[in-house]
């Protein structure tokens, strides 16, 4: 009885295993190489699945590309955990600086030296995804810009002109406020979305005062402090928005701010080029202007934010196929499709790309004749605890929603840097 039941178990077990192995071996023979892409751009899933991936798969029948994004706020930690446990996707979207530099350090990304097509990018645009020696680890894919959207209808109704200087900007805001019908300016007041006040606030208006990239380098080297006048002036320029923000500002979330503008209840919105689709849908009458210069005659600064690139997981078994896909990401064909499928994201390659979306083109036009600069603090001062980004966003949120002054905010930031960042430590 006993031995019979044993053999029965064996037979049953065998009958389960054999078909399974047959199925799986045939499946392997029939399937193509599968490449998964991990990203934080969950919003773009439709475009990747319906536009971009089909183009590549059509040209490369042996490859199946799977788009598998993770939520933006969880992406960094999830990716670094997955890299450690060797379960990350074949191709990963690279954040500029911070996370990517950490992944490079731990040898989780494949060295892309010699990848055909990388010559198509300037050294500057490769910088945020390279190691200290300049060895590239990601293909740069998109940059974004920050600035203001304005409702042309409201401007016409109130007979306003697009402001060029900080003084004109405040005058325009004051006029809209006096009229009383519209909220002059929307930004984000909730703490969860406080990154906005950094990217589309301080980093937008600041370059005039700290003189672009030079101001960032001076902080990185410790030759200047955040409490020095040029940085405090930048904090003050942002704080000057306070009287013109929506009521109950501390509860206005990023989507609330967008809604206020889209519904025509606000005249100006501090925003980024990435929300062209939401902020300027077809049929709307929306324009774009850059950060107002400190005084008339100043050359405008324009922020070019490296937004994302693509790298290869060093532990992926499909290195060759992944490199081939990344090579395609460097081509003009890809840049053209990408820029037009995702208006507001601008390719970083040297190719001349035509953009159909007028508002997206207006964002690109802001760069004409302007001094291009990157946000400050995001590289070296972001590598320790408490990092620049977390401290700055929190302080800006407090400054904009409470009585904290620009001077106090700058002092707090300096104190936090002095607590750990070697070049800024008190000697």
């Amino acid at each position: 009885m006993k031995s019979r039941s044993k053999s029965l178990v064996f037979v049953v077990g065998l009958s389960l295993i054999i078909p399974a192995t047959i199925v799986s071996t045939t499946a392997v023979a029939a399937t193509k190489t599968t490449l998964t892409i991990d990203s934080w751009r969950t919003d773009d899933s439709k475009i990747w699945k319906e536009v971009i991936i089909p183009i590549y798969e059509k040209a490369n029948p042996g490859v199946k590309v799977v788009w598998a994004p993770s939520p933006s706020n969880e992406y960094d930690s999830a990716l670094s955990l997955r890299m450690k446990s060797k379960t990350a996707a074949d191709i990963v979207m690279c954040r500029p600086y911070g996370l990517t530099k950490a992944l490079i350090k731990d040898k989780h990304l494949t060295n892309l030296t010699g990848l055909p097509g990388l010559t198509n990018f300037t050294k500057q645009s490769m910088q945020s995804w390279a190691d200290a020696k300049g060895v590239p680890f990601c293909v740069p894919s998109a940059s974004v810009g920050a600035g203001f959207y304005y409702n042309k209808n409201i401007f016409k109704e109130l007979k306003l002109t697009v402001p060029k200087t900080q003084a004109e900007f405040i005058a325009v805001l004051e006029k809209i406020k006096k009229n009383g019908k519209y909220t002059p300016l929307v930004a984000t007041g909730t703490s969860a979305d406080s990154w906005m006040l950094d990217q589309m606030g301080l980093q937008l208006v600041g370059p005039y005062y700290w003189k672009g990239d030079a101001g960032g380098v001076a902080l990185d080297n410790g030759t200047r402090k955040v409490t020095d006048p040029e940085y405090v002036a930048a904090f003050e320029a942002l704080a000057s928005w306070k009287p013109y923000l929506p009521k109950a500002f501390s509860s206005v979330s990023y989507s609330d701010a967008e809604q206020l503008f889209i519904l025509g209840r606000a005249a100006i919105a501090a925003e980024g080029s990435w929300s062209v689709k939401e902020m300027a849908p077809p049929g709307s009458n929306v324009g774009v202007f850059g950060a107002p210069v400190a005084k008339a005659g100043d050359k405008p600064y324009v922020q070019v934010l490296a937004d994302h690139g693509f790298g290869i997981n060093a532990a992926s078994p499909n290195q060759a196929a992944a490199k081939k896909l990344l090579t395609w990401f460097t081509t003009k064909e890809f840049a053209q499709v990408y820029a037009n499928s995702l208006p507001g994201f601008f390719p970083l390659s040297k190719d001349k790309i035509s953009i159909d979306n007028k508002t997206a083109q207006a964002w690109l036009d802001l760069r004409d004749g302007a001094i291009v600069n990157a946000p400050i603090g995001m590289d070296k001062m972001n590598t320790g605890t408490p990092n620049w980004f977390s401290v700055t966003t929190n302080l800006l949120n407090v400054m904009m929603t409470t009585k904290m002054t620009a001077k106090q905010a700058a002092a707090e930031l300096q104190k936090s840097l002095e607590s750990w960042y070697p070049p800024q430590k008190k000697k």
Binding site: S80, S250, S251, V252, N382, F389, N394, N397
Partner: protein
């Protein structure tokens, strides 16, 4: 002799019947707990002893966050316990009093429904209701340091009111009716019966609910994360131990997680809850024995 074999067999049976639950408990509760404590002594695979704990308690930034998270948890617990328990008791008493003549089960279900909703939905609905832009309140309750945490606590209280209510409801139902009738014959008023007979009889349940609220609030994370993310503001005003742990372990935004430091944070939280529960059981719960019938 006879009794000895019987006892042995009994013990064997006992082991047999408890083993599935025991195995489950060991595998999914005890093992993760011990391994958490274990990795909290390491940093990047190197044994560092108590260094992680020393950092948590002595580093300016880290110790300040830990202290505030703990204080916020205390606030969370005190508000939740002082509102949830009396309200739940009141509702349960009302439902079992016989004053609500019709549709008691309908009300019971209605009061329990929020508990079954997803936290994300509860957070979203309440955020809209109290939004100064789209809702009915003209004050940024969630945006001000003073009101943010109490507001979130009340949302949580609203959502989970059903659980203590059902606990107390069933406890009240299980009170034998002859005791109540005897009291009525003796001429006791309804209020007197409630305070002098019913409450003492369900005191152990009230105690259990208090300690469960303590454990829930100190493990609390979901509603705060759903509303304010992993760096819960304004200016960390709604940061509790749960979110602090999440941020330390998994990271948030540009902050990358540190699993070992996170494990140390989790261990600290575990001991806080353990200590609180132990003190409570040693001092209060022992005295709350059900009155003998």
């Amino acid at each position: 002799m006879q009794s000895k074999t019987l006892a042995r067999r009994r013990r064997r049976q006992l082991l047999l019947f408890t083993s599935p639950a025991l195995a489950f408990f060991l595998l999914f509760a005890v093992f993760p707990l011990l391994s958490t404590i274990y990795i909290s002594f390491y940093q990047e695979d190197v044994f560092v002893g108590l260094e992680n704990f020393v950092f948590l308690f002595t580093n300016d930034e880290a110790s300040e966050r830990l202290l505030y998270a703990f204080l916020h948890n205390c606030q969370f617990f005190l508000i939740a316990a002082s509102i949830q328990l009396p309200t739940a008791l009141f509702m349960a008493a009302l439902l079992t009093s016989g004053r609500v003549r019709r549709m008691t089960s309908f009300y019971r279900t209605l009061l329990f429904i929020p508990t079954t909703l997803s936290v994300v939905i509860v957070g979203f609905i309440w955020r809209l209701i109290i939004s100064p832009l789209w809702g009915i309140v003209d004050y940024p309750l969630l945006g001000e340091k003073l009101t943010a945490l109490p507001t979130i606590t009340l949302m949580s209280v609203w959502q989970y009111m059903g659980i203590p209510m059902v606990f107390l409801y069933s406890a009240l139902l299980s009170i034998p009716s002859n005791i109540i009738e005897a009291a009525q014959v003796d001429g006791a008023s309804d209020l007197r019966i409630f305070f002098r007979i019913k409450i003492p009889l369900i005191a152990p349940q009230i105690g259990i609910i208090t300690i469960l609220t303590f454990i829930w609030t100190f493990n609390g994370f979901d509603i705060i994360y759903a509303l304010n993310g992993g760096m819960p503001g304004p200016d960390y005003a709604t940061d509790v131990l749960g979110t602090l742990f999440y941020r330390t372990f998994f990271g948030w935004g540009a902050d990358l997680g540190n699993q070992n430091l996170g494990a140390a944070t989790a261990t600290v939280i575990f001991f806080i809850i353990l200590l609180g529960t132990a003190v409570y059981f040693a001092t209060v719960q022992r005295r709350l024995k059900a009155s003998q019938l």
